[in-house]
């Protein structure tokens, strides 16, 4: 691999593994009958957001700033989507976990690489 790689903290490794598991499960949920019932384009939009989160975790794994930025953007996109789907819950484990993720990621943000 090319270039200088910043050492990844164990917390970030755990966070990425949990994130990937969550994303895979949520991705399968994206085209569940219950999401399809909400509207024709919801499964596509929801799975797109999940896809963004998956890529974001790849970036975080490689200690890239764009990973954190993409995760925050996808988090807001997901929240907006949930508002439109009328399923937003500020106490749900996914929501709370995402907020914790963002806080942890922002702590490590300065130590991350700015390149692709």
């Amino acid at each position: 691999m090319v270039g200088f790689y910043k050492k990844r903290h164990i917390i970030l490794s755990i966070l990425c593994i949990i994130g990937w598991i969550m994303v895979v499960l949520n991705f399968l949920d994206a085209f569940s009958p219950s999401v399809k019932k909400l509207g024709q384009f919801y499964p596509a939009l929801y799975s797109l957001v999940m896809c963004m989160q998956f890529i974001a975790f790849v970036g975080i794994w490689y200690m890239k700033r764009w990973g954190v930025e993409l995760f925050i953007a996808s988090y807001f996109a997901e929240t907006i989507l949930f508002v439109f789907m009328n399923t937003v819950s500020y106490t749900s484990p996914t929501f709370v976990l995402s907020v914790i993720f963002i806080i942890v990621l922002l702590v490590f943000y300065r130590k991350m690489d700015v390149n692709l």
């Binding site: 085209f31 569940s32 024709q40 797109l48 896809c51 998956f54 890529i55």
Partner: protein, 416 residues
């Protein structure tokens, strides 16, 4: 412009890589094909049933309330034997409803029996012989006459021996001939055919108009024993424009309780049924089928995605030296990234497309043989392609990113 050029170049690289390993590409996209096939086939089947059911319900009248002795859905709280003692709706009640109900557009009375209809040596069995009151055609949208006319008010009031018959009866009794003006035997009496109904096709809810004979209520009453417990009559009330079913039900409940002289403590001795009760009854079964399809398809797609990720890692390993040369010639990281991502998405999209093609072929082969039209809707096609593309993106991103981060010197040295 440069971005477009780079994209086209990446696409060309990806496409040639797929063509070089045809068998490997086909085998690796099979998982996605099976997954997309499972999910979209189930969604297509359910959507087709729902469309067919909605059409049938619309024929029955989505804004029509049926006043009957028996409800269409039962509750545990009210035992079935209590329904037995309820009175049947009557013509006199219809007259009063027509006078009192402000939210109704039209109301009609009907009851049915099953019988054989004859014309000379031809006969049609199990015909639904339905007695109808004058406004039946205004309440029921399925009364579409293709030949002849509707029963006149005079024929209704005098109980004339006339009938409108369904298209299957007309075809069975008068093959290749016009049925209007001929005299057939219904319930043992000679009856003049004045009209033929438009062909409707099979109905999922049963009781197709094709095998139905409509007679004036005053005529059919003279032919059958109205005290027979199997003769179940109904009053159908169609809501006026802008009136919801709930509003109409509320008004009809008040009117019917008044007509039957029920005290406030007494239960209703009539049922107000609506077609939405039929569709909601099917909903749990549809949901269960959809969940099964989703679980099977979801796991197939997951396995397919892992297969694509695996093949992309092999592809990166095989082309490490080539990546090194490209990078040493000035190719940017994002160019290499895009090249492998496009390859993964193309592979996955092809798999999804094959899955959709199989479903489309099945819909053409099955045709109308299931008694309904199986339709692969545009929304299901979009859903299938989106899932495929995104699975490709997810599966291919890590191998592509790994490839984009390779050191050109080390990559050129690679001897895979």
């Amino acid at each position: 412009m440069l971005a477009l050029h780079l994209f086209r170049e990446s696409f060309r690289f990806a496409f040639s890589a797929l063509l070089q390993n045809k068998l490997r590409s086909i085998l690796s996209l099979l998982g996605i094909t099976i997954g997309i096939f499972s999910i979209i086939a189930v969604f297509t089947f359910i959507d087709s049933i729902q469309i067919s059911l909605e059409n049938d319900v619309n024929n029955l009248g989505s804004n029509v309330i049926y006043i009957q002795k028996w409800p269409w859905t039962f509750t545990k709280e009210y035992p079935w034997w209590k329904y037995m003692n309820r009175p049947e709706p009557s013509m006199s009640e219809l007259d009063l409803i027509q006078k009192k109900c402000k939210d109704a557009d039209a109301a009609a009375y009907s009851f049915s029996t099953s019988n054989t209809v004859q014309y000379q040596n031809n006969s049609v069995d199990n015909v639904n012989v339905t007695a109808i009151s004058p406004d039946y055609d205004k309440v029921m949208s399925l009364v579409k006459i293709v030949s002849g006319r509707y029963i006149t008010p005079n024929e209704f009031s005098s109980g004339a021996n006339v009938a409108i018959i369904g298209s299957d009866i007309a075809a069975g009794l008068f093959p290749g001939q016009d049925a209007v003006g001929r005299t057939i035997k219904i319930l043992g009496r000679k009856t003049l055919v004045v009209g033929v109904l438009q062909k409707e096709g099979e109905s999922m809810l049963g009781g197709s108009a094709d095998i139905c004979a409509l007679l004036p209520v005053n005529y059919e009453r003279t032919l059958i024993d109205m005290k027979n417990m199997f003769i179940q009559s109904r009053i159908m009330v169609k809501a006026a424009e802008g009136v919801s079913n709930e509003q109409l039900i509320s008004e009809l409940t008040g009117i019917m309780r008044g007509l039957r002289h029920l005290s406030p403590t007494e239960d209703d001795d009539f049922a107000l049924n609506q077609t939405s009760m039929l569709t909601s009854g099917f909903a749990p079964a549809f949901d269960a089928i959809a969940v099964i399809g989703w679980v099977i398809g979801g796991f197939s797609i997951l396995v397919g995605g892992i297969g694509i990720a695996n093949i992309m890692f092999v592809s990166v390993k095989e082309r490490t030296a080539l990546i090194g040369i490209q990078k040493s010639l000035g190719a940017k990281n994002y160019f290499i990234l895009m090249q492998f991502i496009i390859e993964a998405i193309m592979l996955s999209l092809l798999g999804g497309l094959f899955g959709l093609l199989i479903i489309y072929a099945i819909t053409l082969l099955v045709g109308d043989s299931l008694g309904m039209k199986i339709i692969l809707t545009a929304s299901n096609v979009i859903l299938g392609l989106t899932i495929s593309a995104l699975i490709g993106l997810i599966s291919g991103f890590i191998p592509a990113y790994t490839a984009s981060q390779l050191d050109p010197v080390e990559a050129i040295r690679s001897t895979y």
